[in-house]
Symmetry: C2
Subunit: 153 residues, 2 copies
DNA sequence: TTATGTAGCATAGCTTGCTATGTTTTTGCA
DNA sequence: TGCAAAAACATAGCAAGCTATGCTACATAA
């Protein structure tokens, strides 16, 4: 009886995938509201994080570091170039490769963007203690690692 | 010095929002691969979970339960009707309201869809103990609740 | 050297999320 | 009763994710 019951129900609030999706949408909503005044979008944000740490990266380097598909990064870079956040140059020595550079405007956004992301993270983690936050981040990393493994092999 | 350093850097692997987004994308990739043979998509899946528990819900009821925007659920329902998963009827008594009903085909997908979601959750949580999983799900619910609060007020 | 394969990027077309806005029906109040 | 506000849903248009496919440049092997 119990097994049959278990097979016929699915508690969404006990589903990691369901909760992860909901949590990520709420993070995106909050961050979107905070960075919209800066002229940034939530998809551009992770690219900016990489480039603020050091630009001149190739499209492939961004794709690998951010773990997104090649077509996704290509389209995001198109919008970022359109919006005046980046410029792209061809690589000498290998004409297939392009390098991505921040514009001056993009550089000025760094501090307020960090502040926006930090504020959103703080709001999200408000009810957790410092120890619980560290543990929670670590658990997310473990879950990410598990899915990356089951993806690759 | 330390504060200045902290203000000028942003460790993405220490950012809850960054990790939540990455984790949710990996969940979606895995679930997409598992339910694609069933003719279901990741956006339709949460709607199906609600309807399998009892159909005849209104669009507004789905919107509130799933915490997505009205336009999003409207478009998802359009695709589900197109794909033969649901039918919509007008509510007697209030012509503005519609009720959503599963088709026979949609009902047959319940067991294999539950199995797919369960398998994806298991793969994701493989490296966590049973106690850690429970704690992790609970922490996600707390984080979700915090963001919903800061949204509403 | 030439043919074949691979690497890097672009493009087409889809889903799923969002905001903004329009339409119709119902409600509520003067 | 009639009119304004609100409620429920539809639609337009954008961002960001995906798969599939195409193009060009480079590498490699016969």
């Amino acid at each position: 009886m119990f097994l049959q019951y278990a097979a016929m129900t699915f508690d969404k609030s006990a589903s990691a995938g369901y909760l992860a999706n909901h949590m990520a949408r709420l993070f995106a909503r909050g961050l979107r509201a905070r960075i919209e005044p800066l002229g940034l979008t939530v998809g551009q944000f992770p690219v900016m994080l990489e480039l603020w740490e050091g630009d001149g990266l190739t499209q492939k380097e961004l794709r690998v570091r951010l773990d997104i598909e090649q077509a996704t990064i290509a389209n995001t870079l198109n919008r970022m170039e359109r919006d005046g956040l980046i410029r792209r140059t061809r690589n000498e020595g290998d004409a297939r490769v392009q390098r991505v550079w921040l514009t001056e405007r993009a550089r000025t956004l760094r501090a307020p963007a960090y502040a926006a992301a930090t504020a959103q993270n703080a709001a999200a983690l408000a009810s957790l203690t410092e120890a619980e936050r560290a543990r929670f981040l670590h658990d997310m990393e473990r879950v990410i690692a598990s899915m990356q493994e089951s993806e690759g092999g």
